[in-house]
Assembly symmetry: C2
Homo-oligomer: 428 residues x 2
């Protein structure tokens, strides 16, 4: 095992540069830990001439990532370009086809094509690893597939999009409305080119789908994730939550029940005193619950050069050490098809209604709720100047189906001026 | 790899029974994840007839753990008896000598004999693993040796003795004095037979010494841990800390600096709003800081049947999967001898002095502090009825050496009626 492990890196954005820096800085330390040297033999990116602050002259260059993936002198193809299809997918498939190990940070690609890619990798007897795809520097894939491998996992939860948590934290701490913080985050380059990937919960949903597959031994089912973004969260919601001892988080929750696989990525109210409630700014947190271990909480930076490159290196070092683990912790062919299920456990919900200001309106809403079997724990109507009356409620525990029924009923009364905002109160 | 992995388990206390339960409950799941069945072939304990709530009839029995360790049909010897010498050490050495892999939860044994045992295991080409020895169910050894293997680790911190944290939390939340909570914890069986292992910080110190070795690639040096227990923490200290926005924790901190390896396991003041400050009851928390990943926080149960057995199973499954990793993450022979160093970074300290109630006393104390170069940030003297005046102070940042010098000076004045209590304010 003293032969070097030779890497080809495609994608020289923040993470790719971070990986180059770690390998250049820690050559000896890495060799001591991995039992063999780790070398970069060649790289690929859109522009060869762009100044990235690292010296690329020691490495070979390929314009085409597919060519890089197939190079004879590459043992591990490191895909850091992103994008669910296109060059990322083509090059990863080429690498597997050429018998190369693959390390990737590409959650979108794996959330869609992960099952097929894992099967191909296992058939080719190569590793396909993706620690960097979920929760940045937090070694959560390793914790689930290895650290907690003796547990039946009962629930996985996580705040896994740092940008959303940053936006919500700023709204809460500084009282800045959503639109303003959003514009700010965009100006600072915190948001993806398509911002709905972040604020629409899609990016975090990809991550949750990957964690679910590992946690429950099921096929990756991104389409089965009940997705809701943070776009409709208002300062009023945040303040009201705080007054009740809660904070609003874009929280992913996955559970396997008798009815199927529940996967939700939605704004939730969580107790302000809980670890999830206390998570500020762009930090990520994953909560893993197992039948033996109880609850394990992992917290760290979810993005950025160093943290994500650290996760890439974890996979690379595992491969250098000769560890061979199925992509999702057990053979891809053994992952179960399980149908998607809506959240079945009853929960209390926070509701924000915008109602016509007219006599009898509240009675109609109360009737619609009662008809659906939803009872109200507390209610508050703010004084207001215009013809739209904001009404805030917290329900007693109810199922999502009953609540949706109630919301339909409210809509049917014709007294609701905007779609109601409904946020689950999660027991964490 | 479809041959079963055959275990011999020595020690059928809480953890041993937990391992038996997991293997019995999850036979198929474990085989799917590990790629081969995991079986218990024989067990050993002090009493064969004791009712432990699990059926031992499927397994062979050995009165002597050394005989169990050497059995031909055992692939992995699981040592869960504890004790730094005696049967634990003898049987682990026998297992390694017989070419068996070893999984142990024995922090005391490894903190003292870990280097030799790791060398022996590596020479015999067998695994010696100890995830369960540190922080119970938290997969911290794996996070350090594998998840963060691409990082130079800059600092490791942890609350790793649940009993101490339970005692401190009860003192804080309910105002119960130390002696009372201690007696209670003893009655509940929370304390080791020799309680100084817990409240004296020894058990947590063992764990810190193991983490340091992995984090910094140094030889385990338990003797180099600056150890201080929680026995002298009073309700006054806890209340005073709270008033200043801090909480008192038995905190381990390890750092490798130009002066050597700093390892401290001492009561510290940490900000009440920090993850460490918020850790309640018997929970454990480990904070890992790396040059690429930044800060990773891991939280979970530090003891108990399920959590500790979960950690044992993580090691067992790694071995079943064929992962072979040096005990401390790199070859034992490559671990560096580094001298122990006292904490060099200046810190503010909280001081509780018990002084004679007489004119000029405070002047003498102030002089002793000034002579040592220690300046006072704030001070408080409580009204009191007897002749002993309690005085609380917080110093400006100073080194431990300067502080010790000041404390010697105060002692020399003859006005101090009790040894001062000095607690470092840690920047976490």
């Amino acid at each position: 095992m003293t032969e070097p492990l030779r890497l080809g890196i495609a994608g020289l954005g923040t993470v790719g540069v971070g990986v180059i820096r770690i390998i250049a800085r820690h050559t000896e330390m890495l060799a001591a830990r991995a039992g063999r040297p780790i070398e970069i033999v060649a790289v690929s990116a859109r522009s060869r001439s762009k100044d990235r602050g690292v010296d690329l002259t020691p490495y070979g260059w390929e314009d085409d990532p597919v060519a890089l993936a197939r190079r004879d002198d590459v043992d591990v193809y490191v895909e850091l370009m992103g994008g669910e299809d296109g060059p990322a997918k083509a090059s990863v498939e080429a690498a597997i086809g050429a018998g190369k190990h693959v390390v990737t940070a590409n959650k979108a690609m794996l959330a869609i094509h992960g099952q097929k890619m894992a099967e191909a990798a296992e058939a080719a007897n190569v590793a396909l690893r993706f620690e960097a795809a979920v929760a940045g520097g937090i070694p959560v894939i390793k914790a689930l597939t290895e650290g907690l491998a003796g547990n039946r996992i009962t629930r996985v939860m996580g705040v896994m999009n740092g940008t959303c948590n940053y936006i919500l934290t700023r709204m809460e701490n500084e009282g800045v409305p959503y639109d303003e913080v959003f514009a700010e985050a965009q100006a600072l380059g915190y948001l993806e080119a398509d911002p709905t990937l972040d604020v629409g919960g899609i990016d975090a949903g990809h991550k949750l789908a990957l964690l679910s597959a590992i946690a429950f031994g099921t096929r990756v089912d991104f389409a089965g994730v009940d997705l809701e973004g943070i776009e409709r969260i208002s300062i009023t919601d945040i303040e009201q939550a705080r007054d009740m001892g809660f904070r609003i988080k874009l929280l992913g929750v996955a559970q396997l029940t008798g009815r199927g696989l529940e996967q939700r990525m939605q704004p939730c109210l969580v107790p302000a005193s809980s670890p999830l409630g206390q998570l500020e700014n762009a930090m990520n947190m994953v909560v893993l619950e197992g039948d033996a271990v109880g609850q394990i909480v992992l917290r760290g930076a979810g993005a950025g050069e160093g943290p994500t490159a650290s996760a890439v290196m974890s996979d690379v070092i595992d491969i250098a050490r000769g560890f061979r683990l199925s992509t999702f912790g057990q053979p891809a062919s053994s992952l179960a098809y399980v149908q998607a299920a809506q959240a079945s456990a009853p929960a209390a919900f926070y509701l924000r209604l915008t109602l016509k200001d007219a006599p009898g309106v509240l009675a109609k809403v109360a009737r619609a709720l009662a008809d659906a079997g939803v009872s109200i724990d507390r209610m508050r109507q703010y004084s207001h100047k215009d013809t739209a009356a904001p009404v805030l409620m917290v329900t007693h525990k109810t199922t999502r189906a009953e609540l949706d029924h109630a919301l339909e009923g409210i809509k049917a009364t014709g007294v609701s001026l905007e779609d109601p905002v409904a946020i689950r109160i999660e027991e964490v």
